[in-house]
Symmetry: D2
Subunit: 333 residues, 4 copies
């Protein structure tokens, strides 16, 4: 970490700051230039409060030289991590094709969709049981009953399952769930992350709507620092000024995360765009960008043709998409 001092900082102020830093167990290397004084801080800088340091009146700027995340950092773990989710392997060249309905609605529905997406190439089944909703009056999911149906679909098809947790007190319900999802709104629910770090379950960690990629990696670090290294990072769109899509899918996140970290990176084009007709082009784009997997909403509701226009693909559309994704992966290898 380096700190550049402002011109006009007095010798006394500089010494005062150096002492304060040394009290935090840091070595300080001083570089006195003609116009500027630079302090190089050596030691465990991960505990230094960068915002506090940067807000001091005598400090021009503070910059980390080493990233603040360690276990998620590719520098210390150059090989791609491979995460095992049930019988599926994800990362290191193994692609995750996660598919399923937005919400679990009935046994018939979830088994039908599970069967359809499996035969179309999915290797993980998704389905919402606990649903985070902006309004307290909106449908909040089937909860524990939803998880039970997902588990039935798992045993019926052999597909491992992933579903979202919203509250650590419900953890027992996830015993037969193969991967636990942390939603965008909980990406910085640090207490939840720590508790999930104490399990060994694979965690699908979604990027928050307004979180930087470094913050996403720091949230992964929260989980890893408690001992759980089985994490999938998921880009699902960020909030910007543009309103024509629900969120703005940031595909450069795929490459940036893969450079900085060894963890697999997947993309959720369904939530990012909010419109079924944008899902296939964005899914293909994610595959071309080198993503380690996709997470796609697929519904199966022959009685409601209307829903074809919404966020979810039909099984037929998903099967077509799945094939093209495979072809694109062959091009970029």
């Amino acid at each position: 970490m380096i700190a550049v001092l402002k011109q006009g900082t007095t010798e006394a102020q500089t010494q005062h700051l150096i002492e304060w830093l040394k009290n935090q167990q840091l070595d300080v290397h001083i570089s006195q230039g003609k116009e500027v004084t630079i302090l190089g801080l050596i030691g465990d800088t991960s505990r230094v409060d960068m915002e506090l340091l940067g807000s001091l009146d005598i400090v021009e700027t503070v910059k980390r030289v080493s990233e603040p995340f360690k276990q998620a950092n590719r520098k210390f773990h150059p090989l791609d991590s491979i995460v095992r989710v049930g019988n599926a392997e994800i990362g290191g060249g193994n692609f995750a094709m996660i598919a399923g309905p937005c919400s679990v609605e009935s046994e018939e529905q979830i088994i039908e969709v599970a069967t359809a997406v499996k035969s179309a190439g999915a290797n993980v089944l998704r389905g919402g049981a606990f649903k985070p909703r902006t309004s307290p009056y909106a449908f909040q999911g089937m909860k524990d009953a939803g998880i039970e149906l997902l588990v039935k679909a798992k045993y019926a098809t052999g597909l491992p399952i992933v579903t979202e947790i919203m509250n650590i007190s419900t953890l027992d319900l996830f015993a037969d769930v193969d991967m636990i999802q942390v939603g965008a709104r909980n990406m910085q629910n640090f207490d939840l992350l720590k508790e999930l770090g104490k399990t060994k379950k694979p965690i699908l960690l979604k990027r928050g709507l307004a979180n930087t990629l470094q913050e996403l990696l720091m949230s992964a670090e929260y989980i890893m620092s408690e001992g759980n290294e089985n994490i999938l990072l998921c880009e699902r769109g960020i909030r910007t000024f543009e309103t024509v899509t629900r969120n703005t899918l940031d595909l450069s996140a795929v490459t940036v995360l893969q450079e900085l970290s060894h963890l697999p990176v997947i993309v959720d084009p369904s939530h990012a765009t909010g419109k079924a007709r944008l899902v296939p082009p964005m899914a293909l784009a994610a595959a071309a960008a080198g993503a380690d997997g996709l997470m796609i909403e697929v519904h199966n509701n022959p009685s409601c043709a209307l829903c074809d226009g919404a966020q979810s693909l039909t099984p037929v559309q998903f099967a077509e998409l799945s094939q093209k994704v495979q072809q694109i992966r062959e091009v970029i290898q």
Copy 2:
């Protein structure tokens, strides 16, 4: 709620949609214009999934006519709410001057600051015990010991206290805390909100970094829908492209929230700007905009002159600010 259908929607599609809406207990009023068909949805539309409806291929746009929040809505509660926090009243012309250190560090520190801010005009004491930190390696606060010290400062000075909760499992520790803060990162931790709704404690609800004002009101609604109406809304800066300040303080939020809701609206200029020298002008601006209160970081650390430049004011600076805030409030009355 109204839904505008796209040109070219067939009669069959329209009927299909209307049936689907009626199945959700809504009356549908059809207005067939020359170029456009508009469906007016009457009934309890708060349960309708607006995003799903809007994402249908045949729907041009969906718009709520009535806001989706009810108990927080000024339409149904025209008078300003007054929230009692210990012996302080906030809202309806009563101003909250909440002050104290970023973190509780020691008994001496918190009592010294509490005494200083009280004599400078504060009517509530703040202090962090559980600290949400981006990094798992950063100081996470004194936790339960921090709350105990806050409570000592409360009994020493008579000031009611507010501190942040991060995990509902720690609720018992907040028995002597007068107001519980929900931080920006937990604004959409819906399970936490619901549990806090079951208490009668005043809640200081901070706006999330990338949340709209309507989403803030919906989060207040989560708390209110469980029976707790004692809520302060807090604007604390949003995340934008500008990096010269930590966040961008959105002061128009004060007026907009006061129009939409009867709940008191306070402003936290310390976290919004991240720099002590920006706190006084933004605090005065918030008062001039009509805020119902301020939340200001004040430290008292004579051994560390450096900290004068950081986010916190000294007690002397706070006392000066407090006087001017009072004068500005007289101007705008």
Copy 3:
């Protein structure tokens, strides 16, 4: 266009508004619901000031039902437009591979790069002569001399050329330029757009850093309304809170623009990411998303190996990329 009136609007206010609208040559269709009054405005609503209308105290919301752009609108021109740039055709299945250096620096440089990118599959040569720079003290490009060198490279290689205009007074210098670029910062320089609309030159119109896709189409409409229909729309990244990349490339813009408009849509991954190593994955992603072309910075500076790390690809990297783009285009057809 529809306007929803607020509950509580009086009959007199409603009549007043209707008269005002009729004075603007509009027919007004009134739909009086139980809770809400909706006015349908029929006629040439493109002249109505939506912001003014929406800001009226009695108006809840205003929504265009028909898009405000006409000539750029796919509804009135269902077939893809094909734009001819020199001997290249772009759009309607014809791909633009635009490549060249950030700035024209010398005759040797531009001819070398032009030769290299042509043999690697480029069909248009780019090169900056007038450079928009944030600082008045930074290099502003070779200007007219730069255009002369570009023209030499055009005649040496047969590639049509594109370069940026910053000031309509320099238009005469662009006589031998095949396509004129309007940069992101000039996307809403309406007077420039109007003047370019009076030429017949193809225009490469870049999206502004904070402009919506609808605003981009309205800027295209400015050019088209003066008679010039030869426009390429270009996504080049938008400004968001994320700082790890220079801008955030919004690839969903490709599909959205192709739905709304018949104009070809190209993508510039070099400016969006600012880093050479992010250019290939984002270029492949753009191709997979269905873009009608790419604009890539390629340099040729054997004396400066350093530059390999910057925004530009080497000719060898570009040739590899060009092949894979072609393969991806075959997959998605």
Copy 4:
């Protein structure tokens, strides 16, 4: 300027970069730490392309130590600048109260409004003649005829006038205009800025919708570098994810700009919020934050009561606001 090199940079790469920097007339001061190498660049770094340097693969980060703006910089000009606009002085404790209609519509209108705002305390008259509009089909202003009417109002009332320029070719029409406005969309129309720098007219320079404060100061520097030092900086709201207001007014910009620059800083709450009822609280907040002036839309249209709800204040509302602004200025002095 300092450049921090990445760990693992070879000696040869470092030397290569140093040579390249020295070729740009810079002295390079090398500081070799244990983990990191820092280059201090000394000399005229305002010409160095920071983005290029920062994008090199071997460079971890680049940071300016001195700001890239010089003439606008308070470091080199510690005293507040005072800008004379006709008979008004602005800055250095002198407040600008700029008021008038959005658009000039008729001689009667502009003289009536001018008379009203003058008697309510305005010292500069505003009025739009050339109007930048998103749509080519919307009313584009009265143009030269509008300027003529403004000049009549100037001679009738004695108020100096300000109006927007969109195209340097119309400069002759501004001979009797006292201050020329550059709108948000033209903030980085660098050729326009340079030409205005060659005049001596005061320039009211508005911040772009997605421009940082440093970019605003660099645009001021464009004007100043050509010899014109008469500039007012204007905050008018930035584009964020929040849609309940037209833009998000960034009032911390006032303090930040006043710290960095000696130029007067004014605030336009009318365009920032887009709603008349938000204008008074935001105007008072701007005054409390220490702004050097305000720019407020005032209309006078007794035949159109509807307009009361839009962006403009009535003369009576403006007079009330003007008084309170004065009182707040007395508090903060």
